[in-house]
Amino acid sequence: MKFVVLWSDALFFLLLAVAVASGIWASRVEHLRLSWRKVGQSQVGMAAATLLLAFVAVALLDSLHYRERLPGDKETYAVEVRSALDALLTGLRTRTEKTYSAPLATHSFAKETLDGEGRDFPRLKHGGAHLGENLAAHETDIAHKAVQGLGMGLVAWLVLWLLGAPLRRAAPHLAWSAAFATLLVLCLAAGAVAALAQGYHVLGTDKVGQDVLYLTLKSIRTGLLIGTLTTLIMLPAAVFLGLLAGYAGGWIDDVIQYLYTTLNSIPGVLLIAAAVLMMQVVIDMHPEWFATAAERADARLLALCAILGITSWTGLCRLLRGETLKLRELEYVQAAQALGVSGLRILSRHILPNVMHIVMIAIVMDFSGLVLAEAVLSYVGIGVDPNTISFGTMINTARMELAREPMVWWSLAAAFVFMFVLVLAANLFADVVRDAFDPRAVK
């Protein structure tokens, strides 16, 4: 086995490290600690944070990549790059059917000509295979497995609850009840799904027979990466240029304003499409840059993040420029100027800390928008690599099947539900963060 660190993995770990480090830093700065405590005291905030953490955990597992060693004396490795999540879900990944099958079905979705028996729905290779000929037991088996799964989920939750006791003691004023209630729901759902997935395709299979549950779980990483890396790329530019334009004024302000006005006046999708196509050409011209298909797909994902980042910094930049224009006239900034404090120091000590709440709010609000943007772009065909599993590609492949009768709804529904939960959690969290950091809020 050989570990592979893709560029996006490295950036994702870096991002997590930065988040943990800034968390430690925030706990030392009083006004930040107070604001975050307010987030923690909110029931909605804790529930949303728990959900987001679950998503992050899945994405983290999916970011530990490796190449398997092939059997034989020579040291050769498989060309497929797999992740820890793939290893955990080996069953789901390998139990592919021929084509579509409905959730929890035992038979295929389409009729086929069977050997000597005319046209009928063929039995699935894996879905419900353990039932054998005893098809009458199908429903009781599902119920049995679901109850078993729920029980396992409950046990898992109890273990987590016991493990969480020191946390609750350390910070008794936070809304732990909401967090553990969410966790209970999550554990029960995960337990039931895990138990059912042993014998069935819980969310059905897609056109080429891949398990939809597996696809949705793999999509989480793509969505999170696009949501966070894009912010990471655009943030320095937006913050620096916004503060500079607002504080320096004059021709610097003019240049920055012209820059973002011009960028804003080009239709976003057009700009992204042009950039993505150019990038695709570059990637296709240089196959020698990438050792595996996974690396190529990864490069495309990163490039997409960069392109989205370059086109989306203008909103925050404009907001920060306006706020800086206001802060610049405040008397504490003038007092600092009168004391001979340098411009860069005024920006970092007096202006940046006082616009951080806007940055904070913008990050969380943009996140959900970017997850949705990825879905839209992939649907249009200018998103991630077709080999990369993402919500967008899932929706894209499912769209034709909506016209079928009877409809193939599960791919779309699965992508929709997961994306909905992710974006809803992010939005709720953003609301709580905004309320907690808004200086005008009643203290």
């Binding site: 009083e30 006004h31 405040l330 008397e331 504490y332 003038q334 007092a335 600092a336 100027q337 009168a338 004391l339 001979g340 404090v341 000590r349 007096h350 800390p353 006082n354 200086p439 203290k443």
Partner: protein, 634 residues
């Protein structure tokens, strides 16, 4: 028969009671003034009368009887007929009380329609004429942004009059206005009240305004009325210790180089649980019973009613609690000289942003400041006095003129020599920095502890954030920050105008102490004549970018020769001699972008002749220190 009868009115916000058991009567045609510092509940009382309380607040108990009707029992629909109809209200900020996208006439017509049923243009014009707006027919078609602050407040009064109110509630009606405009508006209110026989509930923190306007006075402290008295008795001898101290804290009441009497501490915050008298902690005459028992109402023969345990017959106002400081010796070391200082802001128009004119904010100012002395720069808002301060400090590059520091030409910042103390104690400290870091901003190696002690704070406050401090304490922090770099010159830009009277006295005392101890020179920018009288050695009066009169404080305040200075001094509402002869200047100050030809003051000047239209008068020297720019210094 009283028109308004308020009994035991109590307003609650959460568990706190910002208005607690307020009772008073108001007769038709009478003016009752609610007097108090910020946060004492006087505005909430007015809003409760109108049933316009914010969502978080509610009337907990009490009754408001208005001409026999119980307003607390009225439905919202009934209240709407009362508001703006039988009870009119005007607010502090005329700028935000008018809708900027409607013409003034349309807004008055709206008020007329709501209460008189119909609105014709004639009535609108008649109302505008009644509040003394010149050319009312044209003004009715204008938008609020085309009017000056005083004009907008007149329009607000016209709207309040549209419903022919029997009672007018005026919540700090002149606080946002300049002193000459304030005098005009107060005269207008008194005249209207006399004509129409309205009762008026006047809410203010300004003793001068009270002296001029009120028939009876109610002093509020921490949500309660502590003294209710007829005007003459109140001003002759205030009975409650708090009232007495409010008088003593006025800078007008102390002669120069004395210490002002202060009230220690500040107004208790909302939600404080009281036991006994609410003023006990700040009272100089506190008894042991004050801390345990709420004081009863006492009635005096003079008609004063006081909520106090102390039964002493009220003494006359004691002036100057501290000893007289020796007059500092004459110093002649000139620290700072400004000659012909000009700051012009270009007005840019068009696609190419070409300058089509200039706002002459400062237009040729000469100043001298000597070590250990205070020069007060006096003027109304927009006259350029703050810009002078910033130009001298180096925050605003001057367009022309020379600055000399210690006799040597100087430009730009001189952080170690000159520092500034700003007006707004809430905007002048970074809310994200600890006090220690704020004070050490200019010199990282500063001795924060001793600096904090020097301004009357304690060293352990260095670890706290600005939001934990009151306005007066914040201003002390700002002064400590300026002192950290050891400057010789402190430019104070209205450092006390955002503070309550009692806290203002503390800061003024601190400034005089620091001047004595450190030999600081102050350039004190203010519009408050009382503060000037207390603090300044020399005074310069500014009008529209130029200094019109300068001299020692006695020469200017007691022997003013320029008609503008005289008008400015006359317009200040004074607590003694309410019926003094006043010289009212008409109109508003013109825009500095387009000043009148000749003497800038001539359109408002009672002495103006043809000569004044021609050219700006040269400086007329009256004595070694006193000079004035007027053709007819009388």
């Amino acid at each position: 028969m009283s028109l308004l009868k308020v009994r035991d009115l109590t307003v609650g916000i959460g568990a706190a009671q910002p208005v607690d058991g307020v009772s008073f009567d108001l007769a038709p045609g009478e003016t009752f003034a609610l007097l108090g510092e910020s946060g004492c509940g006087k505005s909430l009382t007015a809003l409760a009368l109108m049933r316009l309380l914010p969502a978080a607040a509610r009337i907990e108990r009490g009754s408001v009887r208005f001409a026999g009707d119980e307003l607390c029992g009225f439905t919202e629909a009934q209240m709407r007929a009362v508001r703006g109809g039988r009870i009119g209200m005007i607010f502090q900020e005329p700028g935000t009380s008018l809708n900027p996208v409607m013409t003034v006439g349309a807004q008055i017509a709206e008020a007329l329609k709501a209460h008189a049923g119909k609105a014709d243009a004639e009535r609108v014009v008649a109302l505008l004429a009644a509040v003394g707006i010149p050319d009312p027919a044209r003004r009715a078609t204008e938008y609020p942004f085309q009017m000056s602050g005083g004009m907008k407040q007149r329009a607000m009064i016209a709207m309040a009059l549209a419903g022919e109110p029997e009672l007018l509630i005026a919540d700090e009606p002149t606080t946002a206005l300049d002193v000459t405009i304030q005098a005009q508006v107060l005269d207008l209110l008194r005249e209207l009240q006399r004509q129409r026989g309205m009762a008026m509930l006047l809410i203010t923190h300004d003793l001068g305004v009270v002296a001029k306007m009120a028939d009876r006075i109610g002093v509020m402290y921490a949500g309660q009325l502590v003294e209710v008295a007829p005007r003459d008795a109140f001003f002759a001898a205030p009975a409650h210790p708090y009232s007495r101290r409010l008088f003593a804290a006025l800078p007008e009441m102390a002669t120069r180089q004395q210490r002002l009497a202060t009230i220690p501490g500040s107004v208790p915050p909302l939600g404080t649980a009281f036991r006994g008298c609410r003023f006990a902690d700040r009272c100089g005459e506190v008894l042991s019973v004050c801390r345990t028992q709420a004081p009863p109402w006492r009635e005096y023969a003079s008609g004063q009613r006081v909520r106090c345990h102390l039964e002493t017959v009220s003494q006359t106002v004691k002036v100057g609690a501290g000893g007289t400081a020796p007059e500092p010796e004459e110093t002649v070391t000139l620290l700072l000289e400004a000659h012909d200082l000009k700051v012009h802001f270009p007005i840019r128009r068009g696609v190419l942003q070409r300058a089509v004119g200039h706002v002459r904010a400062v237009d040729g100012v000469d100043l001298q400041l000597a070590a250990g002395r205070t020069l007060a720069l006096v003027g109304e808002s927009g006259c350029g006095k703050t810009t002078v301060g910033k130009a001298i400090l180096g925050l605003q590059p001057p367009t022309a003129g020379t600055l000399k520091l210690d006799g040597k030409p100087h430009s730009g910042l001189a952080p170690a020599r000159m520092q500034m103390v700003f007006q707004d104690p809430f905007g002048s400290l970074n809310p994200r920095m600890r006090v220690g870091a704020i004070v050490a901003e200019g010199r990282p190696d500063a001795d924060v502890d001793s600096l904090l002690l020097q301004v009357g704070l304690t060293p352990e406050m260095a670890g706290r954030y600005p939001h934990e401090f009151s306005g007066g304490q914040r201003q002390r922090i700002a002064i400590a920050r300026a002192l950290a770099v050891g400057p010789q010159i402190l430019i104070c830009d209205e450092p006390t105008s955002a503070l309550d009277v009692s806290v203002q006295a503390q800061i003024l005392n601190l400034l005089t102490d620091l001047q004595e101890r450190l030999g600081l020179a102050y350039l004190f920018i203010t519009h408050n004549i009382g503060v000037v009288d207390f603090l300044a050695h020399e005074v310069a009066v500014m009008y529209l970018g130029r200094i019109v009169e300068r001299g020692t404080v006695d020469e200017v305040l007691r022997g003013a020769r320029h008609p503008y200075t005289q008008a400015l001094l006359a317009a200040v509402p004074r607590i003694e001699g309410a019926a003094s002869e006043r010289l009212l200047v008409p109109g508003d100050p013109p825009s500095p972008a387009n000043p009148p030809a000749g003497c800038h003051f001539h359109p408002r000047c009672p002495r103006a002749t043809a000569r004044c239209h021609g050219a700006y008068p040269e400086t007329a020297v009256l004595s070694a220190t006193h000079s004035v720019r007027c053709y007819f210094p009388d």
